[in-house]
Subunit: 239 residues, 2 copies
């Protein structure tokens, strides 16, 4: 059976991408990175998603990028900003940008792929409904693919796959639902609190995607139910 | 003052490269990777060299590539081979190749460089007297440079420097001695024992380099002296 290493953060995009790899007939080798991210709780989502799709292996690698800092996601002194419109007239890269993150993650994924003799590496990057990060764009993946082919032993035999890079968030969600992705298990919020903050880039983009798809986000629905349950308990005093 | 992030393994090449960066007027930010290498003792050499050259910072980052394996340097079940001649007629990549190592290390170096707003990243790769690793060749560095420029926020402002990539080992050694590199503090042997094994690629290439330069390797000299001291102690019984 063909093997694929899939980068899996535990968010909506990477979970959908894992489902795509499975639907394309690959045996799944999921890879998550514990890089000192503020929203580390996404790793618990990654575990559940890898398990749900029957990944052959799921490795969680510690790479403490927080030792470098330079990002609101790895340095608690930099606050997570609220969503601002990213456009050609406002091309500023937000402070949630993590220096060289996808280059690091992909090079680790290719190392893993070479070691297990995989045929493909999947990454759930998206360059349509996104925060404007430079390492999510097709041009970058093309250039990195070339570097990997030149700088590894077997890299040229391993395809770099970015199946959702040019899709709208609503299209990704519809595809994921068709493939059975349990979105209530995924996690997107950068703040990593008990409930999604609803204000950071990641929350806003996710919410817009579900709205455009005409579907209620099952994560929000679940959280609301839990909250409702909790307040009923509080009122009645019945545990 | 200009800042440079320098990848520093603690070996001969990277120590010389650190000295080159210093001689070119950079404030040094040394970066070593504890990747589960068999010859982890090179990290103690890296510490001494960073200290010797007055690095502003020296970060040792744990990135457990041994979790992937696939190399004699990260998997104790694969023995370190003895040196065999690498040539166009024998282009086989040895089992000491670590999947995607320089891509991983350079992407981490660029992450660090972006975070501290450095001007350059130095790597002591060499494609003349080397083991035939694909991630030591100029073509690869050129391609990776392009990918980094496209996939990072400030990568295009940071130069990727490979000052010794096209030098013979003997030339590197002569340059290093001119720049005051204390080679007795460096470590090259892949086996990482108490003394260099003298048989692995790294030992053989180093020894040939010193021979061609007409200089005795100060590390071997030091080890011999220590050994002589130990056997005198043994004979006389005087501690």
């Amino acid at each position: 059976m063909k093997k694929a290493v899939c980068l899996l953060s535990g968010g909506l995009d990477s979970s959908t991408t894992l489902a795509v790899a499975k639907s394309e007939g690959y045996d799944l080798y999921a890879l998550s990175i514990d890089y000192g991210q503020r929203h580390k709780r996404e790793l618990s989502s990654a575990r559940k998603i890898a398990d749900f799709f029957g990944a052959r292996e799921h490795k969680i690698l510690k790479v403490p990028l927080s030792k470098f800092g330079g990002s609101a996601l790895t340095d608690n002194k930099i606050p997570v900003p609220e969503m601002r419109k990213f456009s050609c007239s406002n091309p500023e890269i937000p402070t949630t940008y993590v220096p060289a993150r996808n280059i690091i993650f992909l090079s680790l994924a290719f190392a893993y792929a070479e070691a297990v003799k995989a045929d493909a590496v999947y990454i759930g990057a998206n360059a349509i409904d996104y925060s404007g990060y430079p390492d999510c764009r097709p041009d970058f993946f093309k250039a990195l693919g070339k570097a990997i082919a030149l700088g590894t032993k077997d890299g040229r035999k391993i395809s770099l796959k970015t199946p959702i890079v040019k899709m709208k968030k609503s299209e990704i969600i519809k595809l994921g639902l068709k493939l059975g992705v349990p979105y209530e298990l995924t996690w997107s919020c950068y703040k990593g609190g008990r409930r999604p903050c609803g204000k950071c880039d990641s929350c806003v983009i996710r919410a817009k995607g579900f709205r455009a798809a005409g579907i209620e986000d099952p994560l929000i629905k679940k959280k609301r139910k839990t909250q409702k349950g909790a307040s009923v308990k509080q009122k009645t005093g019945i545990p």
